[in-house]
């Protein structure tokens, strides 16, 4: 499918920016939603100066799920028509140890990484289903495939999102609306600036390429880069008795 109108929720993340650039280069009209005015303006100007077919923005804190219906409505108005695809890209990387000591913090992280994306996906699905077209692409994570001691608050939120999207995909299967769960591995972004980088790390541009391809051609669960599929297959199938003893 050739994309013409795309909305990106959580547009100032490194992966979302890379997606927006690649779409702008293809002449796609973009609507960007983000929370921080200075960051959103920096991204908007970048996309506009790249010669995009048009770019509009809405400032919003996506944790406020009550606004989601209006945000989706506004996106299509700004785009001047039905969107071909939407990317749900907002997310945070929680401080696991802090969350262990303060569940209020964990709750907020689960809201940002699971509840809010699930809400957006629902509003998008209800809008797309009657017309039978459109793709919902959401960024989950390989961390959602199994709960690890070092990262299980984030992992459980992403895991919840993956299962939610899997169910939504099944619900919409007959309508022609696509739902793609993107599961990136380690990505070299400001969110992971503190980590030591190795061979398994990928640049946001590379992940973005996979996302754009998912928007154009569809898919179900997409591991990015692809080599995370066999890795996570192995990790998912390790017996729990062994898994709990691994320091990962």
């Amino acid at each position: 499918m050739s994309l013409q109108r795309v909305a990106i929720f959580g547009a100032t993340s490194a992966i979302a920016q890379a997606v927006a650039r690649q779409l702008a280069a293809k002449g796609v009209r973009l609507h960007l939603v983000g929370r921080d005015p200075a960051k959103l303006e920096a991204v908007r100007a970048d996309i506009a100066a790249r010669g995009s077919a048009g770019v509009s923005v809405t400032l919003a804190d996506l944790d406020e799920t009550a606004r989601h219906a209006a945000l989706v409505e506004e996106a299509e108005q700004s785009l001047g028509g039905a969107m071909d695809a939407a990317l749900i890209a907002q997310g945070t990387l929680p401080d696991q140890v802090a969350c262990e000591h303060d569940f209020a913090l964990a709750e907020r992280e689960i809201l940002t990484n699971f509840v809010a994306p699930a809400s957006l996906a629902t509003h998008l699905a209800n809008r797309f289903a009657p017309r039978g077209t459109g793709r919902i692409v959401a960024i989950s994570s390989v961390a959602g495939d199994r709960g690890r001691a070092s990262n299980y608050v984030y992992g459980s939120a992403k895991g919840g999102l993956s299962i939610f999207l899997s169910g939504l995909r099944a619900r919409l299967n007959a309508t022609g609306v696509g739902v793609v769960t993107v599961k990136p591995g380690f990505v070299d972004t400001p969110m992971t600036a503190a980590f030591k980088k190795g061979l398994l790390w990928a640049a946001p541009e590379k992940i973005a390429k996979g996302i754009v391809s998912a928007m154009e051609h569809g898919g179900a669960e997409v591991y990015l880069p692809w080599f995370w599929w066999p890795i996570m297959f192995a990790i998912r199938h390790l017996p729990e008795a062994i898994f709990v003893r691994l320091k990962i």
């Binding site: 920096a42 991204v43 970048d46 790249r50 010669g51 600036a193």
Partner: protein, 431 residues
């Protein structure tokens, strides 16, 4: 954290490398000093800050505005020249000055006031910078342009990243009709031939010579002379970039020796013929031939290599260049990226700009410890004696005396330096 410059020498440790993602955010608070760091393509230690912090600017790679009718482009300082050309060339705009690699950030190009094969016509990179923003460690932000902040503007261009962090810059691009180049290549017999060819090629936008640094006696200075222009044939669809090769690991240091380099030089020179050979090449192939091989610096192995780029005044240039080439050929050391060019009369745009009227010679030597350092010191003596200068972006070892002789106005830069900014290079040459 260990960070290497392009020459892999020296090897120094940093307290931290902090990635910057947004241009409006305040500079991080650090103990010790900081230095902006782009792609670390400087060869020596001017892009290193041993024991201190590096501010990694590659995340600042957004466009801010690009006026396709006037060619004025404003972007964040971590954007690379290659990214700019990829956007601008297909719509008929080009950077007026580029160095020999496209893997240079705008901030790095400003900090070193880089030059290219068209110096005789366009001067340095800084001459095409209209304005930029400087974030200082005291929290201030200063928009610098020649009319409003002339001193700080001039100190920051070629200021080696020491006056603060350049967050964004506004550049003037030039019109082109095509992203292709018309290139003419011929064999060069000796040094005299180089000067004759330079004179005969004054009407060409770009010219440069590659020298076989192992040739001695009457062959001294032989090589290839290459001149080029932007093609006037209307813009084609951009040619696809060729497959990018990569040097996967450091080669053993012994791979580069006088025999292998001698063989390479003979083969390379054989590409040229007596008369002029005409080719039509995409800009990336002509301007950035080595960019096609990722990590080509690994060719020199673990010990790394050092570059030596000098400029000597034109009057007795033939004599001085000959003396340098003789010293290198005699040492039998294997420089195989040896490049010779005549600079134009335009003054550099910065306080410490390296290009000045004269002849510039760049060579690289595998780092073999004391013997290499002694040879380079001898080369410096020839350059000092001629009243010339050594290029900081390529340097890892010049003495404070050589530096001060090369850049008599260095104390003015010291006065404009942000007190929280420093580099290994700066501490070394201002000792």
């Amino acid at each position: 954290m260990s960070v290497r410059s392009w020459g892999n020498y020296p090897k120094v440790e940093h307290a931290a490398v902090i990635p910057l993602a947004w241009r409006h955010e305040a500079l991080p608070k650090v103990g010790g000093t900081m230095l902006p760091s782009g792609l670390a393509r400087s060869y020596g230690d001017s892009c290193l800050n041993e024991g201190g912090t590096l501010l990694a600017t590659r995340g600042l790679d957004r466009l801010i505005a690009f006026d396709r009718t006037t060619g004025v482009l404003r972007c964040e300082a971590g954007m690379t020249l290659g990214q700019i050309l990829a956007l601008a060339a297909p719509v008929g705009w080009f950077l007026p000055v580029v160095p020999g690699t496209s893997y240079v950030t705008v901030g790095g190009a400003i900090a070193n006031d880089v030059h290219g094969k068209n110096h005789h016509l366009e001067g340095t990179f800084g001459a095409h910078v209209r304005r930029f923003e400087l974030a200082r460690s005291d929290g201030t932000r200063i928009e610098c342009a020649p009319p409003t902040e002339p001193a700080l503007f001039r100190a920051t261009i070629a200021g080696l990243g020491l006056t603060g962090l350049v967050t964004w810059a506004e550049l003037r691009l030039k019109r082109i009709d095509s992203a292709m180049f018309d290139v003419e290549t011929t064999r060069m017999d000796d040094l005299g031939h180089f000067f004759a060819l330079t004179e005969a090629s004054a009407g060409y936008e770009y010219n440069v010579a590659w020298v076989d640094a192992l040739a001695k006696g009457k062959d001294l200075g032989r090589g290839l002379f290459i001149r080029a222009r932007h093609s006037s044939v209307a813009i084609h669809p951009m040619p696809e970039a060729g497959a990018r090769l990569a040097m996967p690991f450091d080669l053993p240091a012994a791979t580069l020796n006088r025999h292998s380099v001698s063989l390479f030089n003979a083969l390379y020179r054989a590409r040229g013929s007596r008369g002029w050979q005409h080719t039509h090449e995409p800009y990336s192939k002509y301007l950035f031939p080595l960019d096609g091989i990722a990590h080509w610096n690994r060719m020199y192995g673990k010990p790394g290599f050092v570059q030596h780029q000098s400029v000597v005044p034109r009057t007795d240039a033939p004599l001085r260049v000959r003396a340098i080439l003789e010293a290198v050929a005699e040492a039998g050391d294997a420089s195989f990226l040896t490049v010779l060019k005549v600079f134009g009369d335009r003054e550099g745009a910065g306080l410490l700009s390296f290009p000045r009227p004269g002849v510039t010679l760049a060579l690289d030597l595998p780092m073999r410890g004391a013997a290499t350092l002694e040879l380079l010191e001898r080369l410096d003596a020839i350059v000092r004696d001629a009243g010339g200068a050594i290029y900081p972006a390529k340097d890892a070892r010049m003495s404070p005396e050589t530096f001060r002789a090369s850049f008599p106005r260095w104390e003015e830069l010291e006065r404009h330096r942000d007190p929280a900014f420093s580099s290994s290079f700066w501490r070394r040459v201002t000792r």
